[in-house]
Amino acid sequence: MRVIIVGAGQVGSSIAESLDDDHEVVVIDTDDSRVESLTYSLDVLAIEGDGTSLATLREADVGAADLFIASTDDDETNIVTCATAKTASDAFTIARVRSTNYLQTWEESGGAFGVDFMVSTNLLAAETITRIIGLPAAQNVDVFAEGSVLLAEFCIPTNSPIAGQTVAEADDQFNELTVAAVLHEDGLIVPDGETKLATGDEIVVIGSAESTRAFAADLATDRDENRDVVIIGGSEIAVQTAELLEDRGLQPRLIENDPDRARELAERLPQTTVMSSDATDREFLTREHVGDADVAIAALGSDEKNLLASLLADRVGVDRTIAVVESGEYTDLFEAVGVDAAINPRDATAEEIIRFTLDGRMENVAIIDHDRAEVLEIQIDDDSALAGRPITDATDDLPARVTIGAITRDGEFITPRGDTVVEVGDHVVVFVETEAVDAVASRL
């Protein structure tokens, strides 16, 4: 497949990075130093030029492209770039936008601006944050099979009833739930029944929405449902998180230092209490009882501020802290020093865009632990190695260890156990290590 990516920022580069092995990738950027560095670091053709100019696109041979991704930092540029590409090519166009304004227009019109798929970075990050808030103790949550299957990452807290149990015991205890992976300090394990779960382990579970929630509640017995949410910072991600929380009937609080921005946000968010203050002012945090909050979300402009704000929130007594991290390499660091969940908006965007490069039967993908593993949703056809056989037999034939996390048949959730028979037409959520993805996916 020939892929053209306009804009080699963090999102553009990470998409290019994950595609350059299997696809012909052309990257266009206006910054010559970036173009030069990409030429050497990745196996891609990098062109310096303006993506909105037809001449540049022709140089990239847009006519032969199958997939066209506009991922610069500017919404309008991305939209115009896609529209321009459409005049000279039949490629599937993807535009990355920040504003939900364009996204709404695009959704309502069923595909405006010559854009075939529109991804809003901020909205995706906000959706991830609200999903995590909905599941106490979760570090990351993804949805599959139109919401009936949840994938969640947890860190097993001390004195959790699950600590010390084996995976088989945990699976038995929770119907409709499978432990798909255990992330130790020394790496990722695809567990078998005998694998022991210990305090501090990060585990990935896949299951029906109800049982994942029940699991989350059991895992951290001391945590109630999160009703009182404080959002620190007034970035677009913060606003969209607040909007999503408002939609769920919550009334979050939002702290923004700049009075003008605070006013603007207060006008946009009718159910949110917007406060104009410095979120690192301890006296203010005490006076407003921020410490009583169930969750604090740090969504300020920079990673450093987010770290500081979430640590301070933790210090004044907030149960859970979630921080937005712009640079992917810091997510682990954040979680190591005590932030309960670190969210990288670009991961979510890249995930969303990469799923379009997948095989037609694959409907959804989630990337686990910086691309060490992937979770795929696949519809089973006649050629699949899984079709018509019990899971234990089928997985033995596959070239690498996989975990079948969930099966949905005609919208019904089926708990996969060793003797479960997969039928043609089932939707299967599979956990695979990244290096084996291509080999496994072709067999399924």
Partner: protein, 520 residues
């Protein structure tokens, strides 16, 4: 030389304003042809209206000559609106003066005539007529009195904007200065079209009420609601005016008539733009409107309280023979409570019984209701529901920010944020309104004391609240079945002034009194 001096000092092209006032008056003279026709029919006061028509045409043409080529700006707009209402009220006195000459009518006195005319055009409904009867006044004159209210209701300037092409530019600002409520809503891209739509809705409601009232008469449910009365009362319901050719106001008519007039008063006190939306296929705009809901809610609550008071007898001080018994009668208690509450809140001023006979609690509720007023964009006056809603919301915000000083919370109306400047404007207006009320009440009390006219505080304050809010009746001496004749002339002039600035919502007139308006 003199004109050069004035043009170098004054920054307002007053000639333009006067010229345009002349144009409005010129066209307005046509409305005098209606009472003239009635005069011809009944054979009384024909000469009065023929002369009045001529005088009005001459005044209009004369004023128009002051500036044959008007160039309207913002400042000229304020002056024009204020002057229009003053000149129209002055011209409107002519029929009263001419008809009253030599008949012993109280309106023969120029100050009384001016009060009556201003009360008419501003849709107040306070009267200087000592005796309201067809033996004292002709059918034509009493119809003219009703007609002044109908013309003033939706607004003379709005009517002018709808008709006169020279007012299309700057018309929005003119309407803004005249129309009740903060700001106007443009329903159509062209302001003249918006003005026409509003007048059309207004006309439609008026005709509907006429037909229904007369229908009741033909159906035998309203023996004395003849065609003349049906027309007369429709003409003063929709503008929330309150004049009636019957001395006992609506008390003179059957319960069916009273029930029928109530919804029309309610409609008159609602935003006419909402009816336009409802008629063009958006009825939810009416039912979901915050102001309309508050308006209906306030009417409901006050009616329930007063109906309870009347039903138990706690709301009645002296039982009158003028109306059938109310105490213990559900329909009577409810009808009298609803009718008078609606009449006062919408600033109409009709009465279906003399509420001066009510007890102090019931009367005080009515006094406070005079400050509520109709909706923005209605024909009602006083403070207006929308302003109270905003004030209540912003006070609630103040309480919240006292506890949370860093909280930023905009005031919202049906989800839409209200600009802080608009809120300040609303506070300023309301404060000014209340301050003017207090100051004018004091002046009236002093003035009455000066001439030895005894008046209670309730009577004095109700007279001021009633004239400033363009309601009409007050309590006691100025009650719904009485008149304002006994006040000294200076008080009458003050109240005439209050009706004038009350109709224009104070600021467009007060701005004329500031030096910076006239210079720089």
């Amino acid at each position: 030389m003199a004109s050069k001096w004035s043009s170098s000092r004054l920054r307002v092209d007053w000639r333009t304003s006067i010229g345009l006032v002349g144009t409005v008056v010129k066209y307005l003279s046509a409305t005098l042809l209606v009472p003239l026709a009635v005069a011809l029919f009944y054979g009384r006061d024909v000469l009065t209206f023929a002369i009045a028509f001529l005088i009005t045409v001459i005044v209009g043409l004369g004023l128009e000559r002051v500036e044959p080529d008007p160039d309207l700006g913002t400042r000229e707009g304020f002056l024009m609106v204020a002057l229009t209402w003053l000149v129209v009220a002055l011209v409107g006195t002519v029929p009263y003066l001419l008809a009253g000459m030599g008949t012993g009518s109280t309106l023969a006195h120029p100050i009384n005539a001016l009060f009556e005319s201003m009360s008419g055009f501003t849709t107040t409904g306070a009267t200087m007529m000592g005796e309201i009867s067809f033996t004292q006044h002709s059918h034509a004159l009493l119809l003219w009195r009703q007609l002044t209210q109908w013309l003033g209701g939706m607004g003379i300037v709005v009517l002018a904007v709808a008709i006169l092409p020279e007012l299309s530019v700057g018309g929005a600002q003119l309407m803004d200065a005249e129309a009740p409520g903060p700001g106007i809503e443009k329903l159509t891209p062209r302001i003249a079209e918006t003005a026409r739509v509003l007048w059309l809705v207004y006309l439609g409601f008026t005709v509907l009420e006429m037909v229904l009232l007369y229908g009741l008469h033909l159906g035998g449910l309203a023996p004395n609601m003849e065609l003349y009365n049906a027309v007369s009362h429709a003409l003063t319901t929709l503008p929330t005016g309150g004049f009636s050719p019957e001395a006992r106001s609506i008390e003179a008519f059957s319960a069916a008539v009273q029930w029928l007039i109530i919804p029309f008063m309610i409609a008159a006190g609602a935003n006419f733009a909402l009816f336009w939306h409802a008629l063009t296929g958006n009825p939810e705009k009416l039912t979901q409107d915050t102001e309309f809901r508050s308006y209906v809610g306030i009417i409901g609550v006050l009616t329930a309280v007063i109906a309870g008071l009347l039903f138990t007898g706690a709301g009645i001080e002296t039982v009158t023979d003028a109306v059938p018994p109310i105490i213990g009668q559900v329909e009577d208690a409810l009808r009298h409570a609803l009718f008078n509450v609606v009449s006062i809140i919408t600033t109409t001023g009709f009465a279906n019984m003399d509420f001066t006979t009510w007890s102090a609690p019931a009367k005080t509720i009515l006094l406070f209701a005079m400050f509520i007023g109709g909706s923005a964009g209605s024909t009602g006056s006083a403070v207006k529901i929308i302003r109270w809603v905003v004030i209540v919301k912003s006070l609630r915000r103040e309480l919240f920010t006292t506890v949370h000083p860093e909280a930023v919370s905009p005031v919202r109306l049906a989800g839409r944020v209200i600009d802080e400047r608009a809120i300040r404007g609303i506070y300023a207006f309301t404060l000014l309104y209340v301050a003017l009320f207090a100051f004018a009440s004091l002046l009236i009390v002093i003035d009455s004391w000066r001439v030895g006219y005894t008046i209670s505080t309730l009577e004095a304050t109700s007279a001021i609240a009633s004239t400033l809010g363009n309601v009409g009746p007050g309590f006691g001496a100025v009650g719904p079945m009485n008149n304002y004749l006994d006040f000294p002339a200076t008080s009458k002039l003050l109240m005439t002034f209050l009706m004038w600035i009350g109709r224009l919502e104070i600021l467009p007139v007060l701005v004329l009194l500031t030096p910076s308006y006239w210079r720089t």
